[in-house]
């Protein structure tokens, strides 16, 4: 393929815009990390403007790790993210696959059934009542079951399954394979892009869960990391004499600890998007 001049210009422009966008996203993050690594008095001396840390200390991180129950809550967050996402994907995929079948009996009814909660929600108090009456209060399961399927994500998954070549399904069916077998052995391998996507969406939702954790769990050791972080950040406005107001560096260290693990996950999943493209080429 000959690379023409206009082609090169185009590629350059695309790259330049992307670099710019990347920088806009990057600098605030850099700020957060830099401040978290700077000693507080140094931070003040620089007038609060620190883009590159001149002196480095891990003091703020050590201090954050001393917040009450932080290691318990960190563990809880990891657990519900992993277990919860697995449950989410399992139920969502099953449901979305069935819904994507055009000849499903009562298919229209089920689709509407699944869409209505997208528009109408029960709200805080009613949902709390149901969670309580199903015995989930004060257990980590309260962060998994009540949000087992997101109608929105269900929709996305369903539309992905609809767009899969029917031929794939037909040829397996003719060979006499059962529906479940088809789903797990044939459809799933082709569906890795969507699984990666919804896994990421559910996963991030679980990792960042704050309000549900606060509402349904009053046992401090069963709460999640975001609760610890927010409680610490809220202390900045509290007026009680005993309260030690968290410094900006401590706040930033808390932010880094709470955000970095989940950010690290994405690069591992990104290859599944490209895999999908390659599979498409072979399939064609």
């Amino acid at each position: 393929m000959v690379k023409s001049k206009s082609d090169r210009l185009y590629r350059f422009t695309v790259a330049a815009i992307l670099v710019l966008i990347g920088l806009v996203c990057f600098f605030p993050m850099l700020y957060v990390v830099s401040v978290s690594l700077t000693p507080y008095d140094e931070y003040l001396r620089q007038g609060g403007i620190v883009l590159f840390p001149r002196k480095i200390t891990l003091e703020a991180y050590a201090q954050f790790w001393k917040e009450p129950y932080v290691s318990d809550c960190f563990g809880n967050t990891v657990f519900i993210t992993v277990a919860g996402t697995a449950a989410n994907i399992f139920v969502t995929v099953l449901m979305a696959y069935a819904l994507s079948k055009k000849d499903l009996m009562f298919g229209r009814f089920f689709t509407v059934f699944c869409l209505i909660p997208l528009l109408i929600t029960g709200g805080l108090v009613p949902t709390y009542l149901i969670v309580k009456n199903t015995g989930l209060i004060n257990s980590l399961a309260a962060l998994i079951f009540p949000t087992l399927v997101s109608p929105y994500i269900l929709l996305i998954t369903r539309s992905f399954f609809s767009s899969i070549d029917a031929g794939l399904y037909e040829s397996a069916r003719i060979d006499g394979a059962g529906e479940f077998r088809i789903l797990f052995a044939i459809i799933m391998p082709v569906s890795l892009p969507i699984i990666a996507t919804i896994g990421l969406m559910y996963g991030v939702g679980h990792w960042n869960e704050y309000f549900a954790s606060l509402m349904y769990i009053s046992e401090s050791s069963l709460r999640t990391l975001q609760v610890v972080l927010r409680e610490m950040l809220n202390r900045a406005s509290q007026m009680e004499a005993d309260v030690v107001v968290p410094t900006r560096t401590l706040q930033m260290a808390g932010v880094v600890i709470s955000a970095v693990p989940i950010i690290m996950v994405y690069p591992f999943l990104q290859k599944h998007f490209t895999q999908g493209i390659m599979l498409g080429a072979i399939k064609g």
């Binding site: 966008i21 806009v24 993050m29 139920v91 689709t111 509407v112 929600t121 087992l148 498409g280």
Partner: protein
């Protein structure tokens, strides 16, 4: 995307047989449906009940008396002098976020797709979705550092240039822009993921064919990339229209202060102050119901419009 209703076969026996054949699918639906019934539908009915009652904690849902008049809780909301400003702010913020957010995310996805360097693509993509993981408290802190009139980086530069400073954080209008801008910063990269996933599902043969035909880059984007992801875009649009009364409680609650109520106080923040801090449970259910009803009408309407373009949620 329309699920076609099974052809009405002749006779009950044929129907029964078809049901049996599809047994597996119903089994697949089962766990999800149970979940839906318990955790999504049951709360809706509960909400309807609670919003027309004088809810008493002791008497519970079924024991509490119906409010007199039954729309008392709704009335409390509608009669508040804050009602119209709240509605206006909510709609304005929500629509601006949507009308700016969707095109930006699509554009980013396309740009990433057009990028030939795998490394650059991966790095930029990671950078753009990272803000999604930051909590609003932190993003507000960052806005403070950048835009603060006394401490801020940007005002520092402005002051060196012009000698005066711009009240980004305390002027109601510029504050609303800050709310929308920071939301775009936080969510664009993340929203682009879904479009990118859709783009990666486009048959590469289409691209090859276009290249053979001598199409320019812009033409390829316009005639292949965009149309193939239109269904995802429309889907997102419809859903965002449906949640038009949710302007971002988490964000605004963290960022707002009394000086900017006039532009950024939304329905949800008002309900939180009035309903929960003041033990008025029925009020928050009533407003929640109101929002749900509006969002229902919005989605149905927008979906009908979308049908004209061949897209539909159902």
């Amino acid at each position: 995307m329309q699920a076609v209703i099974a052809k009405k076969s002749v006779g009950k026996k044929a129907v029964w047989k078809q049901l049996k054949n599809q047994k597996a699918f119903f089994l697949m639906l089962l766990p999800g449906v149970i979940f839906y019934l318990i955790y999504l539908y049951l709360p809706i009915f509960t909400a309807i009940l609670v919003s027309i009652e004088d809810y008493s904690v002791k008497k519970g849902i079924f024991g509490s008396a119906i409010a007199s008049p039954w729309f008392k809780n709704f009335q409390f909301f509608f009669k508040s002098p804050y009602f119209w400003p709240l509605l206006r702010n909510t709609l304005l913020i929500s629509m601006l976020k949507m009308l700016l957010g969707i095109p930006l995310a699509v554009a980013l996805a396309i740009l990433l797709n057009e990028c030939r360097s795998r490394k650059l693509k991966r790095v930029v993509q990671t950078l753009t979705y990272m803000p999604h993981f930051l909590s609003w408290v932190v993003i507000y802190g960052m806005c403070f550092v950048l835009f603060s009139e006394t401490n801020g980086l940007i005002n520092d530069w402005i002051r060196t240039l012009t000698g005066s400073s711009v009240p980004f954080l305390t002027n109601p209008d510029s504050f609303r822009n800050l709310v929308i801008g920071s939301d775009l910063w936080k969510t664009t990269g993340w929203s682009a993921i879904i479009y990118l996933a859709a783009i990666s599902g486009i048959d590469p043969q289409l691209y090859e064919a276009a290249y053979m035909d001598g199409a320019t880059h812009f033409q390829t984007i316009r005639h292949i990339t965009l149309p193939c992801i239109t269904n995802v875009i429309v889907l997102t649009l419809i859903l965002r229209c449906g949640s038009v009364l949710n302007a971002g409680f988490d964000q605004i609650y963290v960022m707002y202060n009394e000086g900017v109520y006039s532009t950024v106080d939304i329905i949800d923040t008002w309900v939180f102050r009035t309903g929960f801090e003041n033990f008025n449970l029925s009020l928050s259910s009533a407003v929640g119901l109101f929002k749900s009803v509006i969002s229902f009408f919005m989605i149905v309407t927008v979906n009908q419009i979308a049908k004209h373009w061949g897209e539909s949620l159902w």
